[in-house]
């Protein structure tokens, strides 16, 4: 017996079952969700209570069950996972269970438990501040809004971490939390260096679980990030949480569920996948009279299949998604559900021109199909072809880095160079106000040339 924090806690050393990363031990007076430390020669790992059956306690072992013996010591800690919260966290890098990864000091004061209480909807406010990123495909077409939760849907090999880093550096926020789940080590270094070189590391906190770490450790990454983010938001800070890659988190959930012999719902994933994801993403919030938490995550789609359970459930929870495909954000499918809340106040032509550009780009793609099949191009088709090329070159390309107002002006110039006003389907009043005059138009043509 030993004493921790004034309480008598027993040490147990009879493990009855080891199956996957789940072990079963006989113990009494253990609370649901409580942590335990498992120690055996050469092994020391945390575990969490995930099921109780009378005196049989089932634990999920974060460090993996490999090497655990039936005689290992199990010490219950009397609390769930906690994280030290203070300004000192800024600029620091931790692993998936909150231990230092950068050889800095460990914190033991002001420990807070992982928060599980949902925010009362009555105390949320309607998001209304746009986060400018300088990427037209985001700012113009699918504006990112403070307190939004949105995911980048992509596939392995796409430059999603580069996109995350760019948003992190260009967005005007107070604090950045970066959660890595199953990231490759060189990706981790890339993200860290990008933040460092951009001068943002000092306002960032990183919880990184790399692909080399035990799988179960990645389960805590979103909770750690979001608990810390929520605390900073309550202190009035604008926090941006970046999570990459949530598919690895879901796969870890699947693994535990299977070890627990749960009935799988879709493709082996547990039936509560939606609720599990929602509990994390719903931490995005704009507090009345305090700060906000915005979540931008990465979801890699196995086989680029959006109907896979992970992107599918994510899509229903997040407020939109950016499809990152072939190195660019697709104009179709990408959607920011909150954009209506901010693009009405940016500039009066914002919404109309956004819809118009996409409509025409859709027509362009149809024309491309026809062209590929060898059909004769009509006069209209040729206009669309010109337009499509200009659109891709001057707005769609991810290297374009211009503020929103410049992107709007550029849109009008593209339209004027390719179409007659009535062909755009835009409202007459807007056309009268914004359609570039001939001299401006030719000037724009020269500029582009």
């Amino acid at each position: 017996m030993m004493i921790i924090e004034g309480k008598m806690r027993a040490i147990y050393n009879k493990i009855w079952r080891v199956s996957g990363n789940v072990i079963m031990v006989q113990a009494e007076g253990v609370g649901y969700g409580e942590l335990a430390m498992i120690s055996a020669p050469g092994v020391s790992t945390l575990a969490e209570v995930i099921k109780i059956e009378k005196d049989r306690i089932f634990l999920q072992v974060f460090g993996g069950s490999s090497g655990i013996s039936t005689g290992s010591e199990i010490r219950f800690l009397g609390h769930g996972l906690r994280v030290a919260f203070s300004e000192n966290l800024l600029g620091r890098i931790f692993n998936g269970i909150g231990e230092s990864r950068d050889k800095g000091p460990e914190f033991t004061d002001n420990l807070i438990e992982i928060s599980s209480e949902p925010v009362n909807p009555a105390r949320r406010v309607i998001p209304h501040r746009m986060i400018h990123t300088g990427i037209p495909m985001i700012d113009l077409f699918n504006s990112l809004v403070e307190s939004q939760k949105i995911s980048i849907f992509t596939t392995a090999g796409e430059p999603y971490n580069a996109l995350l880093a760019r948003v992190a550096l260009q967005a005007k926020v107070d604090i950045i939390l970066l959660g890595g789940m199953g990231v490759r080590f060189d990706d981790y270094l890339f993200l860290k260096n990008a933040l460092e070189e951009g001068g943002a590391l000092a306002k960032s906190i990183l919880f990184i679980h790399t692909a080399a770490d035990p799988v179960a450790e990645c389960l805590m990454v979103p909770d750690l990030c979001l608990t810390v983010a929520e605390r900073f938001a309550l202190e009035g800070k604008k926090v941006l949480v970046l999570l990459t890659d949530m598919t690895n988190f879901c796969d870890a959930l699947k693994e535990i569920a299977i070890s627990m012999e749960q009935v799988p719902a879709n493709r082996g994933y547990p039936g509560d996948l939606y609720s599990q994801l929602a509990a994390r993403y719903e931490k995005a919030v704009d507090f009345e009279e305090a700060g906000s938490v915005t979540i931008l995550s990465v979801t890699t789609m196995p086989g680029n299949d959006v109907t896979h359970p992970v992107p599918d459930n994510t899509g229903y929870i997040t407020e939109g998604q950016y499809y990152l495909n072939n190195g660019r954000i697709e104009p179709f499918g990408s959607l920011s559900r909150l954009k209506q809340l901010v693009n009405k106040d940016s500039r009066e032509d914002h919404r109309a021109i956004m819809d118009c550009l996409v409509h025409l780009y859709a027509d362009y793609q149809e024309t491309m199909e026809k062209k590929a099949m060898g059909f004769r191009m009509s006069a209209w088709d040729n206009k669309l072809l010109d337009y499509g090329a200009a659109f891709e070159r001057e707005l769609l390309d991810l290297t374009v880095n211009i503020p929103l107002s410049a992107a709007l002006d550029r849109s009008w110039q593209i339209l004027a160079a390719c179409f007659k006003p009535e062909e755009t389907g835009l409202h007459s009043e807007l056309l009268a106000k914004f359609w570039p005059r001939d001299n401006e138009k030719s000037k724009a043509d020269q500029d582009r040339a």
């Binding site: 009935v263 879709n266 179709f332 559900r337 819809d355 389907g425 409202h427």
Partner: protein, 626 residues
């Protein structure tokens, strides 16, 4: 005598309790954790062990913790003061919770649903000695726009005599306003509120009627093409991002009904926030009052406890039935029924029941059916008519409508508004796909016109598909014009900008008016020489029509735009109204628009005017069946 028990096992929000004494299925129990009392519900009993779903986070519970059974089923409180409120799935008013406990929803904290201190001006409508039954009015209080009836509690069986009735004055919801006596002489004191078990339909009415009167949503594609009837049911399945929630929000805002109940079931909290922050500022043009005054929100959003999500739709529909008993038209919007079904799946999984398709429980279909069956148009015992209309969104996994929840829902609803990814990707909102959607209810336009439009759209779609293969040059001018007409009708009528204050809300009169105009455009002949000329004409016509859509109804601007449009139309078309046009029109209808895309099944049911919703056949005795 209520039973007691201790916790035997814990698995997420499901606990197993070893109990002694008698307990009931679906009875409410409380887990005692220090000074917290966590509400839970019995879902399975086996021997001296019962499985309970806990409506709260179970963190920190231990084997051996005490559980107290209440002997009562899960109920809602019914009385004046429900309107304008925001509740969680167990009818805790969230604004009150925020006042008491701050930003977060603390575990085990509850507040009474109705404002206890508020005074209501009661006017009795019965006198001592009158005979009353469950659901009969004892008096009324004004609530928002309505005469809120104070009724004999729905659960009271048999006939009662009024012994005492309060005089006209102000009372609180818990004040005694009447005493009634049953046949054996037992006295029952009554207050202005009572409790009703949420899982039980309220069926005290004279007869159930066939839903025939259209419910005007002011969304053109719904009202004209795929209408909803008062007392009917409809569902909106669609992949994520297709605009289900925006459509629900627009409906909740613009539908012409007395009361709207929004069950935000397992969806994003942000959506509830938009409603609760915006509705108080919006004036309902029909009544001149704030929209919030006719709205109740049951918000059990996705990060709130899953078990309460399962019960939230029943909480919502019970409140709907209560207001229906006052002769009001209630619209219940459930977003999303898939989350509700998933909550059942989670529970079923933890009970280790044998799973059905996609691990949903085998009883999924019957539960969905019995939920939608709580909709209906009824004649009350006093001759008034009231209705509950239920519209549910479905979020099919992978956007595939073949999954169990969509299929189970399609079997029991009267209208299907299927959203398509293609339409939403092309920004064609609302993204209801006119080629797959259907409705078994009557629209305010004739069924022949509906049929004609559906034929036009199907044919235009066919031509479009064909053109992808044979190209424009391989398409005849006549076909090409039909294609352009279909495209035109789609873009100026079916598509509607929900964020535009004028275009977003189209009244029935306006729909009839512009539909007549469109009918003329569609049935006119255009002697164009080539395709570019045809395309240019329709592009121009579209621009003029969009101007028209943007002009407020009944203004000079509207008339001016309409005149511009008619002028252009007359210049380019040969009307089919003159005599030479009649055979041409017939040829147009019969040959060009005869689509191989079969719509026969749906158009036929529309034409006959007989809704084929299976429960409608039950007609008069529906009440007794339940």
């Amino acid at each position: 005598m209520a039973a007691n028990g201790i916790i035997y096992g814990i698995n997420k929000n499901m606990i197993t309790v070893e109990f002694s004494g008698d307990i009931r299925q679906n009875e409410v129990a409380h887990v005692i954790l220090g000074d917290q009392r966590l509400k839970s519900e019995v879902v399975r009993i086996s021997g001296n062990l019962a499985d309970l779903q806990v409506f709260e986070d179970t963190k920190g519970l231990r084997s051996g913790d005490k559980v107290e059974f209440s002997g009562e089923l899960l109920t809602v409180q019914l009385g004046p003061g429900l309107l304008g409120q925001l509740f969680d799935g167990l009818q805790n008013p969230l604004h009150k919770l925020a006042e008491h406990y701050g930003q977060f929803l603390k575990r085990g904290k509850t507040v009474e649903a109705l404002p206890a201190e508020q005074l209501w001006q009661f006017s009795p409508v019965v006198e001592s000695g009158a005979m009353v039954r469950a659901g009969d009015s004892l008096g009324t209080v004004p609530e928002a726009l309505f005469e809120h009836r104070i009724m004999v509690p729905f659960g009271m069986e048999g006939n009662y005599e009024v012994v005492e009735i309060a005089a006209a004055a102000e009372y609180r919801v818990d004040d005694k306003i009447a005493v009634i006596k049953d046949g054996r002489g037992k006295l029952w004191p009554l207050r202005m509120n009572f409790f009703w078990p949420i899982r039980k339909p309220v069926n005290i009415y004279q007869e159930r009627l066939s839903p025939v009167e259209p419910l005007i949503t002011q969304i053109r594609i719904i009202d004209t093409m795929f209408p909803v009837a008062k007392g009917g049911t409809f569902c909106i399945p669609g992949p994520f991002g297709a605009g289900k929630t925006v459509l629900q929000q627009l409906t909740s805002r613009n539908a012409q009904v007395d009361i709207v109940i929004i069950a935000a079931c397992g969806e994003r909290a942000g959506e509830v926030v938009e409603t609760i922050r915006q509705f108080p500022q919006i004036t309902d043009p029909l009544t001149g009052r704030s929209l919030m005054e006719r709205t109740i929100i049951v918000g059990n959003t996705s990060s709130m406890p899953v078990a309460a999500r399962e019960s939230s739709v029943y909480t919502a529909v019970s409140m709907g039935e209560y207001y229906r008993q006052m002769g009001l038209d209630v619209l219940l919007l459930a977003d999303s029924t898939s989350r509700w079904a998933q909550a059942m799946r989670e529970r079923s999984g933890r009970l280790e029941e044998i799973p059905g398709e996609e691990a949903f429980p085998a009883y999924l279909e019957s539960i969905i059916a019995s939920f939608y069956e709580r909709a209906g148009l009824v004649r009350l015992r006093d001759g008034h008519v009231g209705s509950v209309t239920i519209g549910g969104t479905v979020s099919p996994a992978g956007g595939n409508f073949d999954e169990p929840v969509t299929q189970a829902t399609l079997k029991v609803v009267g209208a299907f508004h299927g959203l398509s990814r293609e339409r939403s990707d092309a920004r064609h909102y609302p993204a209801i796909d006119p080629l797959t959607s259907w409705s078994r209810y009557q629209s305010f336009i004739g069924s022949e016109q509906r049929e004609m439009i559906i034929k036009l759209l199907s044919r235009a779609n066919e031509i479009e598909q064909m053109m992808k293969v044979v190209g424009e040059e391989g398409t005849s001018n006549a076909d090409f014009i039909i294609y352009l007409k279909g495209l035109f009708f789609d873009s100026v009528f079916l598509q509607q900008n929900g964020f535009d204050p004028v275009d977003g809300v189209t009244s029935k009169e306006r729909q009839l008016h512009i539909f007549a105009l469109l009918e003329k455009i569609i049935t006119s002949f255009y002697p164009f020489n080539n395709k570019d000329e045809a395309r240019a004409f329709f592009q121009k016509l579209r621009l003029l029509f969009l101007n028209l859509n943007g002009a407020a109804w009944g203004t000079a601007e509207f008339t001016r735009h309409e005149e511009d449009l008619v002028r252009l139309l007359n210049k380019s078309s040969q009307s089919v109204d003159d005599e030479s046009g009649i055979p041409a029109r017939q040829a147009f209808m019969e040959q060009n628009m005869d689509s191989t895309f079969t719509r026969a099944k749906n158009t036929r049911t529309v034409k006959d005017g007989l809704p084929l919703h299976h429960d409608d056949y039950r007609g008069e005795d529906a009440g007794d069946l339940q």
